[in-house]
Symmetry: D2
Amino acid sequence: MTKIWTPLILINFKTYAEATGKNAIKLAKTIEDVSLKTETCIGLAPQFVDIAPITNAVSVPVFAQHIDPVEPGSYTGHVLPGSVKAAGAVGTLINHSERRLRLADIDVAIKRSREVNLASVVCANNQVVSAAIATLRPNMIAVEPPELIGTGIPVSKAKPEVVTDTVEVVKKTIPKVIVLCGAGITRADDVAAALKLGTQGVLVASGVVRAKDPHKVLLKFAEELLQEKS
Amino acid sequence: MTKIWTPLILINFKTYAEATGKNAIKLAKTIEDVSLKTETCIGLAPQFVDIAPITNAVSVPVFAQHIDPVEPGSYTGHVLPGSVKAAGAVGTLINHSERRLRLADIDVAIKRSREVNLASVVCANNQVVSAAIATLRPNMIAVEPPELIGTGIPVSKAKPEVVTDTVEVVKKTIPKVIVLCGAGITRADDVAAALKLGTQGVLVASGVVRAKDPHKVLLKFAEELLQEKS
Amino acid sequence: MTKIWTPLILINFKTYAEATGKNAIKLAKTIEDVSLKTETCIGLAPQFVDIAPITNAVSVPVFAQHIDPVEPGSYTGHVLPGSVKAAGAVGTLINHSERRLRLADIDVAIKRSREVNLASVVCANNQVVSAAIATLRPNMIAVEPPELIGTGIPVSKAKPEVVTDTVEVVKKTIPKVIVLCGAGITRADDVAAALKLGTQGVLVASGVVRAKDPHKVLLKFAEELLQEKS
Amino acid sequence: MTKIWTPLILINFKTYAEATGKNAIKLAKTIEDVSLKTETCIGLAPQFVDIAPITNAVSVPVFAQHIDPVEPGSYTGHVLPGSVKAAGAVGTLINHSERRLRLADIDVAIKRSREVNLASVVCANNQVVSAAIATLRPNMIAVEPPELIGTGIPVSKAKPEVVTDTVEVVKKTIPKVIVLCGAGITRADDVAAALKLGTQGVLVASGVVRAKDPHKVLLKFAEELLQEKS
């Protein structure tokens, strides 16, 4: 199985045209290339239908964008955690602000992820919700204020206390839970800032996917990561 | 592109363990085998992650179990119609009783399907809802009272008027819309009854997927289809 | 029971502060005053908790803003059609763009309304959805493109074909269904335009509720109604 | 304002016919009578439309069954916390298993309740979810496994560890949060058992509302409460 380690850059492909079908494969190869060259851990979260083709094509960690809190059975149109795993994913986003779940369903989704050996990355919109999620013991928490998503204004600048409070409360509750910083990350500076605030990586989407030159942007991100680590 | 014709048997894989990952591929090959031997049209609707592997492995028509009414963009965890198409699907279920949509979203989902050239199979729970859906001009309507799904009691026996009323109202509204009969189909008799009530095929799930010998069951279904056609 | 007749002005109180609690009673009395003075039918749709106090205070037709498609039973936090009726309402909005329902639930909500003798006013976002709703036989259809709600740009100007197409298709399907025109109505002109396009009234919210002088605005609306009628 | 104190019996009227409209008023008076006679705190949660008539008729604490996480504005068909308060309620249920909310919305609903001075009673389906909710600092947590609701099998018998674990974790997180025990309570014994497990009251629905003689049942419940307290 492809390994996940920190610091981690996790790239959310959303349903961007630039990251769908053949474009998704191409972008995954770009990501793999930067990952291999810089020896950094870069994961990606493509659309459900693109998971299998991508896990066949590259060896970086692949995440689902969502799973449903269900077991095998009569659930037409649902995303079974075990199916995502069988398709080669090593983890999954849960409760992204564009796909929020009910609290009881987040609890079950994390449990199912654990059962099928998928790393759970649960998204939180603020530090209070991060604290609530931490009690459910996911593998990672990605904190991103939804109002900053896609704006290019990084949370590390607009609301650094959301990040530092999240890191503090999560580390106090379950020290081993990894905290990622999301929302508005477009420049290498933003990656550096996120790490300085105590997180162990970033969750980024349009900043990479819709960049004119994703390879170049990602290379800078990875170099920032290496510098911070050293 | 793999062609769809009628009478049609459409098999919903749901999230059954018997139709997930490797099992899904195996079942798809069984379906292809019966389809080729009997020269009948048998489609299948696997989970999202299994669409690409299945379209690579077999040449029968593959449908998504659901699409979201969205265009490319910021929709984490959503199912983009164009992605499903790019993965090789030729159609999609919409509004299955286990994945019901809001009315305005059904309208958009049908339009998006049309734009990306996916055949839309919209599910209805009764004849009144079938009539409403017909006005939205999908390619097919699958009528199945949810209380009969998975029971083994076919709608043709329990509520034949739901089927005949649907056929009547749909043919009056938009004659070319194809009507499928779902819910409770487990025996070849049920397939025959569905066609006799005026439908052009069946939507079936557990009756095939969870059968002890899916090949045998499906062969009987296909033979019934041929007999009715002749 | 308070009678509803056409042409009708229906005022949606939403959850505006100007139309909550004591303000809701005051606004209801303003509405009653204009209705009595001009002998026009003006209805209002307050929040659930304000229905009983308002039906006690005034004699104009009161509508719920939403009902749930349920019968008496274990449905905590749901809005029972019979309760709304018992509180004195004579009708209800269904499927407002800010409270959209699944198609099968719209079907049931209309049926339940009929059973408990509530007039159903089902909202549609465009002419295609209006046609689908007409087949479900509600008492009224209010067509309002959601993108115009609250903008002050009336649908009669921005998209007159949405209104005329709705009137045409609804009258062809079920002639007795009343069509209301919503979205963006703020001036008496807009009321006149709505009636000229063939509707039998308007659904209006901020244009009255948040007006500096609701009495004055409403009086002009009512006068326009009388002029069109004569 | 009507005061809430512990131990508390909170009666959820749901959408039961026995607790709708005039029946709701009658039942509220029965509750008030037992409360006054026994000097125990008994609250009730009627449907939205019945809140105002009930707060006018009796002086026991009245709760909403749900609120939406919204502020005054364009939210047709939503339940504004401030409106519920204006209608005379002193508190509200949030996230009942029949009206579950997304996690981020529970966070906002609790904050809004606090702002308008409504006591928040957040429902949890198990001890893990109780712990998550405790971090959001509601006034009370009602723990009730949904599979026991309406069964007559009390959680204190079927799953006592759900209750004791909830009490433990909540008291450790925020000592002042009150824990109520719900699901399956029908006999005075069940009330006693709930208190012995460390809770400060019960959330009960059909056990009282649908009892042949609600007055008699409730009197026994109240006596049990007094005995435990002494």
